[in-house]
């Protein structure tokens, strides 16, 4: 169904908007149309996660297409983030 090897992260940036960390990740799919899922992990100053794990969110990326994914932190305590990609069936 999906293969994350053909997905490339081509840009990743973040900004604090109204006191809440906002992340933007751009992914590009070089292979055939792909069904992948993603989620953010939000980390506090000590490197620990600030909330429970997020659900995996599905996204369809067409062949040669790039997609911008936005993430908003769940609390103002989040100072850093990790981005995870997965395939789903």
């Amino acid at each position: 169904m999906g293969d994350t090897d053909s997905i490339q992260i081509i840009d990743m940036r973040s900004i604090e908007r109204n006191g809440i960390l906002t992340a933007q990740v751009t992914i590009q799919n070089d292979s055939k149309s792909n069904l992948v899922s993603y989620r953010f992990k939000w980390l506090g100053k000590n490197g620990m996660t600030v909330t429970d794990e997020e659900p995996w969110k599905p996204v369809t990326v067409g062949k040669g297409q790039s997609t911008v994914i936005m993430g908003i932190a769940p609390t103002p305590d989040a100072t850093d983030f990790r981005f995870e990609l997965n395939q789903y069936k």
Binding site: N18, I20, E54, P55, W56, K57, I72, P74
Partner: protein
């Protein structure tokens, strides 16, 4: 001697049957509750989690909430179901409420559905005479909400003989 051999064969056969019976039952195991669930096109766990998360994060970023000096007091009305399928919208409301509470960015006033339980509790504390005076939550001190949050979920369903497309709109 022959009799003994037969007995052994019979017991082996019984054991084999017992083992087959044990293997033929349905296999039950826990799955990942956060994974993408696509069993059918109906509203499911992924929709619930994605809706609650998207709405909470969007609310947290709004100027009305993030721009306040103190966490504003809000009240959350039950989400209305405008779709053609049965959806327990109370679960969506509760999930949004939990996530907003955990964020520490808002405080909740008593909602309409909780009011009866709240007044019962206050009556119990103030009128039963069972509680120590200094620990009683006094009546007449409830705080009103500065913001009221409402929401609804609607869907657009299209089908042909091969494909069913369900588009959910949450406002």
């Amino acid at each position: 001697m022959i009799m003994k051999l037969k007995t052994i064969h019979l017991s082996t056969l019984l054991l084999s049957v017992a083992m087959l019976a044990a293997c033929s039952g349905p296999q039950v195991r826990y799955g990942d509750a956060k994974s993408v669930e696509t069993v059918n096109a109906n509203y499911g766990s992924t929709d619930l989690q994605m809706i609650a998360e998207a709405m909470t994060r969007s609310l947290l970023q709004s100027k009305a909430i993030s721009g306040s000096k103190d966490a504003p007091i809000v009240t959350l009305a039950d989400v209305k179901n405008k779709t053609s399928e049965y959806i327990d919208t109370r679960v969506i409301t509760d999930k949004i409420r939990t996530q907003l509470t955990k964020s520490g960015q808002v405080r909740f006033a008593v909602s309409i559905t909780e009011m009866q339980n709240q007044t019962d509790e206050l009556k119990r504390q103030n009128q039963s005479g069972l509680y120590k005076g200094s620990t009683i939550a006094k009546t007449g001190n409830m705080q009103g909400a500065q913001f009221r949050i409402e929401g609804s979920i609607a869907s657009i369903v299209k089908t042909n003989k091969d494909v069913k497309v369900v588009y959910y709109v949450f406002n």
